[in-house]
């Protein structure tokens, strides 16, 4: 399966699945943040313009902070989720899955200067397509990663009662596919569902009258609804 997810083993022996985000959503998140930053610039300029020397000084410091520290702020205090990232359900993490550190955050954001070269983040985009986890130069140096937020865990909804067991062991991946099939059934046409389920009829027994229903019941059994 073509899949960019990869598993990190935690020191405790558990398994974390990280799902690195590609160029599209990251560019969109960046543009949203750029817009917000632009608005803040404007507010600063208008709001402090009248305040004379002090206002000018504060505005300069504000511009400086917005230019360099806007993402660092969200990495540090909002767990790696800037407003743009929140909209696209992304998060910055270390590449071992732990929350991003201050040093790594500062580094990846200072290196934006280089990722931006020669214009419009071309260096960063070129780097992102050259490695499997979509890291720009700043991510490579800082050991950080932008990942999708995992979906909240939910019990699969299957519109069929009763359960049955298959007489053979299924791998985790195979089990997931059967459950996914049962969940997607309402969105499939009846013919298509039957066509898909028919491929598994040798496993269900040749005399099985309704393979779709049978698979749903197998899925029920896997989910634990009896």
């Amino acid at each position: 399966m073509l899949d960019t997810r990869y598993a990190v083993e935690t020191p405790e022996g558990g398994e974390l699945l990280l799902h690195p985000a590609g160029i599209g959503p990251r560019v969109l998140a960046y543009l949203i943040d750029l817009l917000i930053r632009g608005l803040l610039f404007l507010v600063l300029a208008l709001g402090l313009g009248w305040a004379g020397g002090l206002g000018k000084g504060l505005a300069a410091v504000g511009f400086f902070a917005l230019e360099w520290f806007y993402p660092v702020f969200f990495d540090l205090f909002k767990g790696g989720v800037s407003p743009g990232k929140k909209r696209l359900r992304l998060r910055t993490v270390q590449d071992d899955g732990t929350p991003v550190t201050f040093g790594a955050s500062l580094l990846r954001n200072l290196l934006r200067v280089v990722d931006f070269l020669p214009m419009a983040y071309l260096a960063g985009l070129a780097t992102m397509v050259c490695n499997g986890t979509f890291k720009r130069l700043g991510d490579l140096a800082a050991g950080t990663l932008v990942v999708y937020e995992p979906d909240p865990f939910a019990t699969p909804q299957i519109d069929e009662a009763g359960s049955r067991a298959l007489n053979l062991p299924l791998s985790t991946e195979e089990q997931k596919q059967i459950i996914a099939f049962a969940e997607r059934c309402p969105q499939l046409s009846e013919e298509r569902a039957r066509e898909l389920a028919a491929q598994l009829s040798p496993l269900l027994g040749a005399q099985e009258p309704d393979p779709v229903r049978a698979l749903k019941q197998v899925a029920n059994g896997l989910v634990g609804q009896r």
């Binding site: 935690t10 558990g14 004379g52 505005a59 200067v113 280089v114 865990f153 699969p156």
Partner: protein, 332 residues
């Protein structure tokens, strides 16, 4: 063990843990101290159960449910609390100078890259004054001339405090941005850092040389001597951090280039913490002391010399006994 028996035996454990996570994920967690104490133990248990469930090929639903708990527990356990202020102060007082000393060769290299072109240009302009126009457009040269023309200065008058505040903000924005760029572009094999060090050195040399030829030394040098101590040294350190990035890619040694870059970055970014502090101090001196025309040049030279000595002592001596001990431990 059948899955049903497994669930019957252990479901309590992961459900308790899930409840604890729900509480911890609230914006203001209300958790008993005893539960905090139990957290890592429970987390390890859930990790263990998840690994068992996976290896025994229990239903993917159960495995994923446990995996989700592992993920949420991991997020809680490895959450970073902002560092205590004390640790940061300790680093800036002792750790940072020790770090600079540990990379002394890069420090001197970056210094040479900044100061030698400056010195060379000052000397060259004494021989051929028109050289200043090779680096700066005439308009900019005229602006510098006006800024430091003794005739334009009403001696004995300090600048307005409002202007000082505006300039303080401007110096912070401008100087720290220059330092950041000098550092970051070092990732291109050190080339960007090389460019910024040489270019800023030449620019400084051009201005200093040109104003010397015009005889404006009594306004220019008293102005720069004070904050120059912190500002130029900070730019040198930003440069050395950038060169470190570049060097890690050119000569990675036994590591892969990526690992070498990561290791160098961890050191370099800590140098940048110190650079930020030094440039904040420099901006303060520049805005409120250097710009004060009411002070006699003699006083400014004296204080300036004191500041240079202070920077030298800070970087050369601070935290030395501790780093010597650490060095000894490494040797043994």
């Amino acid at each position: 063990m059948k899955q049903r028996a497994f669930e019957a035996a252990y479901a309590d454990e992961w459900q308790t843990f899930a409840g604890l996570l729900d509480a911890l994920e609230q914006p203001r967690p209300q958790v008993e101290p005893a539960d905090y104490a139990q957290f890592t133990h429970r987390y390890r248990r859930v990790c263990h159960l998840q690994a068992l469930a996976r290896e025994r090929r229990y239903s993917s639903y159960l495995v994923e449910q446990l995996q989700d708990l592992v993920r949420r527990g991991h997020q809680q356990l490895y959450r970073r609390r902002p560092r205590r202020g004390g640790a940061l102060v300790g680093f800036l007082v002792r750790g940072f100078p020790a770090l600079v000393r540990a990379e002394a060769r890069l420090f001197w290299l970056a210094s040479a890259l900044l100061y030698l072109p400056a010195l060379g240009y000052v000397l060259a302009i004494q021989v051929a004054p028109d050289l200043v126009y090779n680096l700066m457009p005439p308009g900019q040269v005229t602006r510098f001339e006006q800024m430091y023309d003794p005739a334009n200065r009403v001696l004995g008058e300090a600048r307005e405090s409002a202007t000082n505040l505006a300039m303080f903000g401007f110096y912070i924005q401008n100087n720290i941005s220059v330092a950041f760029r000098t550092f970051a572009t070092g990732i291109a094999g050190g080339l960007g850092t090389l460019f910024f060090l040489l270019f800023n050195g030449l620019l400084f040399g051009a201005v200093a040389g040109h104003l010397t030829v015009l005889g404006y030394t009594q306004t220019f040098f008293p102005f720069v001597v004070g904050h120059g101590s912190f500002e130029l040294t900070a730019i040198v350190i930003a440069g050395m951090a950038g060169l470190k990035l570049g060097h890690s890619l050119i000569a990675p040694g036994n590591r892969t280039r990526l690992e070498s870059l990561k290791a160098a970055s961890r050191v370099a970014i800590r140098l940048i913490y110190g650079v930020i502090l030094m440039l904040l101090i420099a901006a303060f001196i520049e805005a409120f002391w250097s710009s004060n025309g009411a002070l006699a040049p003699g006083l400014k030279y004296t204080v300036g010399a004191g500041l240079w000595l202070l920077v030298a002592a800070y970087l050369g001596l601070s935290g030395r006994s501790r780093s010597a001990r650490a060095g000894g431990r490494h040797g043994a």
